[in-house]
């Protein structure tokens, strides 16, 4: 069985796995941050990721803003839209059952995707890669842009993790995850903190979208298909655990890739098989401690 597999196939798939894992990690990290503070499962995350890619495409085609400009602008724009949505839609639901928040974000996702499909159609639109060429490693060809995406996402994940686990700002966030009223009783403006945190999570989704635009096509449904896997990643990692989300994201990207090499038919379902096994053995997920649930 093993000698039938060429290094090109193996390493090619591993690279794809690493790329997918990068997106799983960044998206599930954003979900974990939002869930930790707000207890809202942000079903609009996929739509916000798509909006990031879409905003980059619009900026390029209507205003001539190149990729590097969009990499900064698109997340900021989408985060601002996200914060407005938090104020208008999520805040009034804050003191109700968390199911309402989930349903509201799902509704927003459907509306946003529907509007974009209506205006731009369902087919994907190409986005030119800002870095061309690549390097021949002998056993495989590595496009520079993909290499850059992997490195960039690792930097983003590590940076976010450091910010949350090792800074004063992060200490506020961790504390507010546990007991928001007590943090507020210290004089911290927790409502504003919630808005900014939601904006940060949404910004991360949009940033992932911009990174994804040159690799995948920019299409209204690009988020939906990805999010199904990302939600499985979040469940496996443990809802609300930042480091868990990051590690699970990369590992499952690679697991998926290896499955594609050794048992192609199982590649589409391996993540969900892992999810079921983890749920049976550790219902809170691999990395969640009971307090941080």
């Amino acid at each position: 069985m093993f000698d039938a597999i060429s290094p090109q196939l193996l390493f090619g798939q591993l690279l794809i796995g690493l790329i997918n894992g990068s997106f799983y990690a960044m998206l599930s990290m954003g979900l974990a941050i939002i869930f930790g503070l707000m207890n809202v499962v942000n079903f609009a995350h996929g739509a916000q990721y798509m909006l990031g890619a879409f905003t980059a495409w619009l900026l390029l085609n209507y205003l001539g803003v190149p990729y590097w400009g969009a990499l900064v602008l698109a997340p900021v724009i989408v985060a601002a839209v996200g914060m407005a949505m938090e104020r208008a839609v999520l805040r009034p639901l804050q003191h109700l059952d968390h199911l309402y928040g989930l349903l509201a974000t799902y509704a927003v996702a459907l509306i946003v995707e529907g509007l974009i499909r209506q205006r731009y159609g369902a087919t994907g639109m190409p986005y030119p890669s800002p870095i061309n060429g690549g390097v021949n490693l002998g056993f495989m060809f590595l496009p520079w842009y993909r290499f850059y995406v992997v490195i960039f996402s690792i930097v983003i994940c590590l940076g976010t993790w450091l910010l949350i686990e090792h800074t004063r700002l992060g200490a506020y966030l961790r504390a507010a995850n546990e007991k928001p009223d007590i943090v507020e009783s210290f004089g911290v403006n927790v409502p504003r903190m919630i808005t900014l945190t939601y904006g940060f999570g949404v910004g991360l989704a949009a940033l992932s979208g911009v990174l994804a635009a040159p690799i995948y096509q920019v299409s209204p449904s690009m988020g939906t298909s990805l999010m199904i896997t990302v939600f499985a990643v979040v469940v496996i990692g443990g809802i609300g655990s930042i480091s868990g989300a990051i590690m699970t994201g990369y590992v499952l990207g690679l697991v998926e890739a290896l499955t594609k090499v050794f048992y192609p038919a199982g590649a589409g379902m391996v993540v969900f098989v892992v999810m079921i096994i983890v749920l049976l053995m550790k219902p809170n997920g691999m990395f969640s401690s009971p307090e941080r649930l």
Partner: protein, 239 residues
């Protein structure tokens, strides 16, 4: 009457009603706290003492009536706005954050007004916390957690403290330490509302006692009157 309020009390609670979801917990609480005074709220479990503190602080959102602090109405304010006026709250469960180290717990509250204790002052005043600065907050003993919970609100510079049963569940020797700390805070001019079930503890530190029963104030006594009439107070407490 109004003048008396402004000169005598820095906090006046008037006809305070409060609800948890649909069930009503306070039915018109009224009392006043003078500057530099240590006032206790005494009553049975479920009488409404904790709810009173949480309503003053804004943590119980559904509330009516009036809570005036330095002549400013707080009843329509949010928790963080109330905190920024100079009130600080230490809950019964101590609320130490498990995902934060002792040091992070201690230094989390921002400095809101001048006069907050600096970090090195706090660590000097609470040497136990210094020694265990990097351990997880919830790994401390009950007494140490209580010290930490009080210490960290001193950082904000608030001069008005709401302390909910700081002696609860602690060994007598630790209760003594907490009492000493509270006396020291009073000497330093802090104004304190203390919820307490332990009458001896309450009597040893407080100026006046507000007796709460079924969400209402039924009596207000000085410490001397309390000592003379222990029987009556114990009948309120049902002991």
């Amino acid at each position: 009457m109004r003048d008396e309020v402004t000169t005598a009390g820095i906090l006046s609670v008037n006809d305070l009603h409060a609800w948890y979801a649909e069930s009503k917990a306070l039915h018109g609480i009224s009392f006043e706290v003078r500057e530099g005074e240590l006032l206790t709220l005494i009553g049975r479990n479920g009488a409404g003492k904790t709810t009173t503190l949480r309503s003053i602080m804004g943590i119980v959102r559904k509330r009516t009536g009036s809570v005036r602090f330095r002549n400013e109405e707080l009843i329509d304010k949010r928790i963080y706005q109330i905190a920024r006026k100079g009130l600080a709250y230490c809950p019964e469960e101590r609320a130490i954050f498990s995902s934060l180290s002792v040091k992070e717990n201690l230094t989390l509250p921002p400095v809101l007004q001048k006069g907050g204790m600096a970090d090195d002052e706090l660590l000097k005043a609470f040497p136990n916390l210094q020694r265990r600065a990097s351990s997880q907050g919830t790994k401390l003993s009950g007494g140490e957690q209580q010290m930490l919970a009080i210490a960290r609100i001193l950082r904000t510079g608030s001069r008005f403290l709401l302390l909910d049963e700081p002696s609860e569940g602690l060994a007598p020797v630790v209760v003594k330490e907490i009492a000493e700390l509270i006396r020291k805070l009073k000497r330093q001019g802090f104004t304190i509302i203390l919820v307490e079930q332990n009458l001896r503890f309450a009597r040893s530190v407080a100026d006046r006692h507000v007796i709460v029963e079924n969400g209402r104030v039924v009596d207000i006594l000085t410490s001397d009157a309390l000592s003379q009439d222990m029987a009556r107070v114990q009948s309120y407490l049902g002991v």
